[in-house]
């Protein structure tokens, strides 16, 4: 019986949450399959990183080498091909993050291993891998079965399997890096931090956030009036930044900011998971959307199915009245 592998994701040794979610998902499958769970940890000066994941796996396969100081999909791919060919795991779990997105499809293709991406849940039954994914802008779920094989690769969506503690006290095995330099054709140069904007939305108590439903830039002043009346700051989901109507530092979500205000008012935001992960920590969430099936209503505390352009001016009047 092949083992279950989970790839540790860290940014210069800071272990990312997805790692513990992958290890939790992997541990459940390992228990059910009577298999061992191995954490694959590549990095440089990884002693602390190793400690952080030690209780979450039976074994850590560790490579401590300068080559892995930063993430490069090509060096990771070459390394994983070597390990997977030698160790023949039943399943290799990778995060559906910007790293996994860059790595998993080409890794699986090179190995000729069946795979799928962005899974919410995963089960192995009768040697077949059954995954749950989302399609059509997150409006529908899909059950997917991978082609029968002795090894599978799956990427897991962030936040889909809540991390649980464990006390496995992994045995650490060092692995020799199968390559000695970054490939000439793809070199990592640097990380660039996001520029600091004029408003820090992560510090606001009240956030009014707009999405695709805002339709056009001409509709912005009415929203800004409301933001002023309620004494909040204006934020948004991705389409508003893509359109150039607000700067990137106002974007809430996985590729933007994570916010935890006392009140989050989502206007015309459908609630793609990339947005939800950035705002679900708010104390109170009010959502206004025309579509009664918009996923945002699964996250919100209060929902209004209405045209936001009718609600916003009326609510502004109400707030002004209540403030006296």
């Amino acid at each position: 019986m092949g083992e279950i592998f989970a790839l540790v994701e860290h940014r210069q040794n800071a272990v990312r949450d997805i790692t513990f979610e992958l290890l939790t998902c992997g541990r459940r499958i390992a228990e059910q399959q009577n298999a061992q769970l191995t954490a694959l940890l590549f990095g440089h000066n990884i002693a602390q990183t190793c400690d952080a994941v030690k209780n979450h796996a039976h074994r850590i396969l560790a490579i401590d080498h300068e080559l892995y100081k930063t993430f490069n999909a090509e060096t990771y791919q070459a390394t994983l091909v070597d390990i997977i060919q030698k160790e023949k795991p039943l399943l290799t779990l990778i995060g559906h993050t910007a790293f996994g997105w860059d790595l998993a499809p080409s890794l699986a293709t090179q190995l000729g291993i069946p795979f799928t991406t962005d899974c919410l849940a995963l089960e192995i039954r009768d040697d077949l891998a059954h995954a749950t994914r989302q399609m059509y802008d997150g409006k529908l779920n899909a059950h997917v079965t991978l082609k029968k094989h002795d090894s599978y690769i799956v990427t897991l969506r962030s936040g889909s399997v809540p991390a649980e503690d464990a006390s496995l006290n992994a045995e650490v095995q060092n692995y020799e890096p199968p390559l000695s330099a970054e490939p000439e054709y793809r070199k990592f140069l640097e990380y660039i931090e996001a520029a600091v904007g004029e408003v820090d939305i992560t510090k606001a108590d009240i956030i009014v956030s707009i999405g695709r439903g805002i339709k056009e830039q001409a509709n912005m002043p009415a929203i800004e009036d409301f933001v002023k009346a309620i004494g909040g700051v204006l934020a948004c989901s991705r389409p508003v930044v893509d359109a150039g109507w607000l700067p990137k530092d106002r974007q809430v979500g996985s590729s933007g900011k994570t916010v935890k205000p006392k009140l989050y008012i989502a206007l015309g935001i459908s609630g793609a998971f990339q947005h939800i992960v950035g705002m679900k920590g708010a104390d109170t969430i009010i959502a206004v959307n025309k579509d009664p099936n918009a996923p945002i209503f699964n996250e919100a505390d209060y929902g209004v199915v209405e045209d936001l352009f009718k609600v916003v001016p009326a609510l502004k009047e109400k707030i002004v009245e209540l403030k006296g």
Partner: protein, 257 residues
């Protein structure tokens, strides 16, 4: 600089009511509008900007039904030189791997320095096709690209990571980039350009032209279903006065006025 862009025609589901059909493997499409996948419009624009700057030939390719030819014509109107439709109707069910492998067969002899794709299609949301295509062609790739420069004949790609962090990479050509939305401002095609594009070359290829016989999917879609409802919001109904009165009192109770 010869460039290939892969585009897909998809149903616009972000703000639509999406219903499952009787097969449980597809959605009911007759009330939906279709358009070029959002990320692909940015990939196409990036390719047009590259062509304007460096010259060369721009080819657009789509694996789709006959309606995909309308989408390809829009790309021709915006500035592409050639278009290729691969007949999806001849290949049965498609996953990300099979899609990429078929596209590879269709374009492997088309000269390319750069291939652009969208980072993800909104319908099946695989976010795989570009990466697999690069692997099958044996060229380097970068995904989720939000900025590109050329320096000393090398491509500098800036990848969008979580939390607004960018990863700056240097890649040799030929290369493939999967483009994230927001990288540029996609242009609209003028009516005149659309009329002119009707005369541009659009090639249609299928099993007879490309060796796609033995390409198999890695995954099979068993069924679609409506996601279970989570912690549902308390829905506020009634007149606008009643709704705003309730919302106002919620804000007030939280001590936020």
């Amino acid at each position: 600089m010869d460039i290939i862009v892969c585009i897909k025609r998809v149903p616009q589901t972000a703000e639509a009511d999406v219903k499952i059909d009787a097969s449980k493997k597809d959605i009911i499409k007759d009330r939906l509008t279709f358009d070029m996948n959002e990320a692909d419009t940015y990939a196409l624009e990036e390719a047009i900007l590259f062509k304007e700057k460096f010259g060369g030939t721009l080819t657009v390719v789509s694996l789709g039904g006959v309606e995909a030819e309308d989408t390809l014509r829009i790309a021709l109107a915006k500035g592409a030189d050639h278009a290729i439709r691969i007949k999806a109707e001849e290949f049965g069910e498609l996953d990300g791997y099979k899609t990429a492998a078929i596209i590879r067969e269709a374009i492997k002899d088309t000269k390319h320095d750069i291939i652009f794709t969208g980072c993800m299609a909104t319908d099946d949301a695989y976010s795989q096709v570009g990466v697999i295509l690069a692997e099958l062609l044996g060229i380097p790739h970068a995904t989720l690209v939000t900025k590109i420069d050329m320096k000393n004949d090398k491509l500098h790609a800036y990848r969008e990571l979580e939390g607004g962090l960018l990863e700056h990479l240097e890649i040799t050509l030929p290369a493939l980039c999967t483009i994230q939305t927001g990288i540029n401002e996609p242009r609209y095609a003028s009516l005149l350009a659309i009329r002119r594009a009707a005369k541009k070359e659009l090639t249609v290829v299928g099993k007879a032209e490309i060796a796609g016989e033995n390409i198999m999917s890695h995954s099979v879609l068993d069924e679609l279903y409506v996601p279970p409802v989570g912690k549902r919001a308390e829905m506020l109904t009634g007149s606008m006065d009643e709704i705003t009165a309730k919302l106002g009192s919620i804000v007030k109770e939280k001590g936020l006025l």
